[in-house]
């Protein structure tokens, strides 16, 4: 932490702020080596410094999900929590998969395909197969970004299926890697400050893909089914196991409020939050650690069919302690959401009603009337909180050390 290498210190937009008590000019390169040397300096009454190398070392977040499962909606909700809209890099490749906002840069891990579309067909592998992906390059580049260095990242063109010339990515404050394999490679996993897995049940996935593709010429119920079936063995083997490593899992299931519902319009959504993660305090309903079922509809709140049901409680997930918050049903009106928000705790909001406000801001996004939108927004706020705590800690460590 306390090491600022000479080249970053000398650069114009230095990530390190140096506050000398006396004597040093602002541009001077200062090298700290060990805490003991600093202490001895102080003892001899020489000089004390505060050095913080915070801003330009991004925090890295991984988001895993299958294609067509709402990653882009999640990304738009997340960037909105930090303020500002996310846009593709200006003036670059029009088919770039990257999204950049003031604080956040989102890259798509498809850009690390080692085999293009023709290559995969020749070898008979899917994009889900690790053999079709270059994890060495992924690791090197994510590591470089985390160290505050710019990278030349390839672009996988989803329209042509070819690997296009690379684009330059500058280190942002928050770097998000989204795609099929953010937690597959152990080295990449170690670099993540927070990880999320979007777990869409087969029934819902099928319903969503029908909504997405039925209008497209050539697609039929059979072709959609065949495509899901064909990809399933690779999905189960390589993608699904990553969820055990996620700090938060958003599970989307068919509703239990309507018997035999297959439409995928009313959803039961679970937010599974790992316990004991530094800087991440799970959300709870009424009383932390208890098991609670709650139907907010009643005298104070009118809900239309099929109503809303919340559940909360401790559980184990892949042998780990988790807290699970579940919402079944959908909102009709805003009163319901603010009523629900007022009964949830540890939301990491900055003011009362922030969750509701964020949801209202994007009322047109898919999932805004059910648990997917609510829990994605909550995870967004949690990531903001995590980011602020990490930055505070980085800034705090040298100051604390100086006190010793």
């Amino acid at each position: 932490m306390a090491f600022c290498s000479p080249h970053t210190t000398a650069s114009l937009r230095s990530p390190c702020t140096t506050i000398p008590n006396s004597g040093f000019r602002q541009n001077q390169v200062i090298l700290f080596t060990t805490r003991s040397s600093r202490r001895s300096n102080t003892r001899h009454g020489a000089r004390t410094f505060q050095v913080s190398c915070a801003v330009e070392q991004p925090i890295v977040i991984g988001l895993a999900a299958d294609s067509g499962c709402g990653k882009s909606t999640f990304m738009r909700r997340l960037t909105s929590v930090f303020g500002g809209a996310a846009e593709p890099p200006k003036g670059g490749n029009p088919d770039s998969n990257t999204l950049i906002s003031d604080t956040t840069t989102v890259i798509c891990l498809d850009d690390y395909h080692s085999l293009d579309r023709t290559g995969r067909k020749e070898k008979g592998v899917t994009a889900l197969d690790p053999k079709a992906n270059d994890f060495d390059l992924m690791y090197e580049q994510v590591k470089a970004i985390k160290e505050g260095k710019a990278i030349e990242k390839p672009i996988y063109n989803h329209v042509t299926g070819l690997l296009d010339p690379a684009e330059l990515i500058q280190p942002p404050k928050i770097f998000v890697i989204e795609g099929l394999h953010p937690m597959y490679d152990e080295r990449v996993r170690e670099l993540l400050d927070f990880s999320i897995y979007l777990d869409i049940s087969n029934e819902v996935k099928f319903a969503w893909k029908i909504q997405r593709d039925m209008a497209e010429r050539g697609h039929s119920l059979e072709s959609i089914k065949a495509s899901i079936e064909a990809r399933k063995p690779d999905f189960d083997a390589f993608i699904d196991p990553q969820k055990q490593y996620a700090d938060a899992v958003i599970e989307v299931l068919p509703t239990q409020l309507i018997p035999d519902d297959n439409e995928g319009k009313v959803l039961r959504v679970k937010l599974i939050m790992k316990e004991g993660i530094k800087f991440f305090n799970p959300v709870y309903l009424f009383d932390e650690g208890s098991t609670i079922n709650w139907i907010p509809c009643g005298r104070k709140l009118t809900c239309s069919y099929p109503g809303i049901k919340f559940s909360y409680g401790p559980d184990t997930y892949f042998g780990q302690e988790v807290s699970v918050l579940e919402m079944d049903g959908q909102f009709d009106r805003l009163d319901e959401l603010i009523y629900v928000e007022s009964h949830l705790s540890n939301l990491s909001t900055k003011f009362y009603g922030e969750v509701t406000q964020q949801m209202l801001k994007h009322a047109d996004f898919p999932g805004s009337n059910n648990g997917t939108g609510l829990f994605q927004t909550i995870v967004g706020l949690k990531i903001r909180d995590l980011y602020e705590q990490i930055i505070a800690e980085r800034a705090g460590v040298p100051a604390e050390a100086a006190k010793v």
């Binding site: 294609s67 882009s72 579309r117 592998v125 889900l128």
Partner: protein, 81 residues
């Protein structure tokens, strides 16, 4: 009506072709890697088509679109104070 009107025609055609090809490939060998890879291509192109439609939807307001190019006109000028 030729499919979904808002998918770019070139991409829509690619989706159609990929489905046809996948069905043919899998007719011979329904379990093989080639069949699976072919359906994976269908998924990739369908996702790309859906993203392209979403992107078009963002520019669906004719006034907004006009004002992006002509911010000085009467119907587009906005003052913060």
């Amino acid at each position: 009506v030729a499919g979904s009107p808002s998918t770019p025609p070139e991409l829509a055609q690619k989706v159609t072709e990929s489905i046809k090809q996948a069905e043919e490939t899998c007719a011979g060998d329904p379990e093989g890697g080639e069949c699976v890879a072919a359906w994976d291509e269908v998924e990739e192109l369908s996702a790309a088509a859906s993203h392209a439609r979403d992107r078009k939807k963002e520019h669906s307001d004719p006034l907004e679109e006009f004002c992006e190019d002509n911010p000085e006109t009467d119907e587009c000028r906005t003052y913060d104070s």
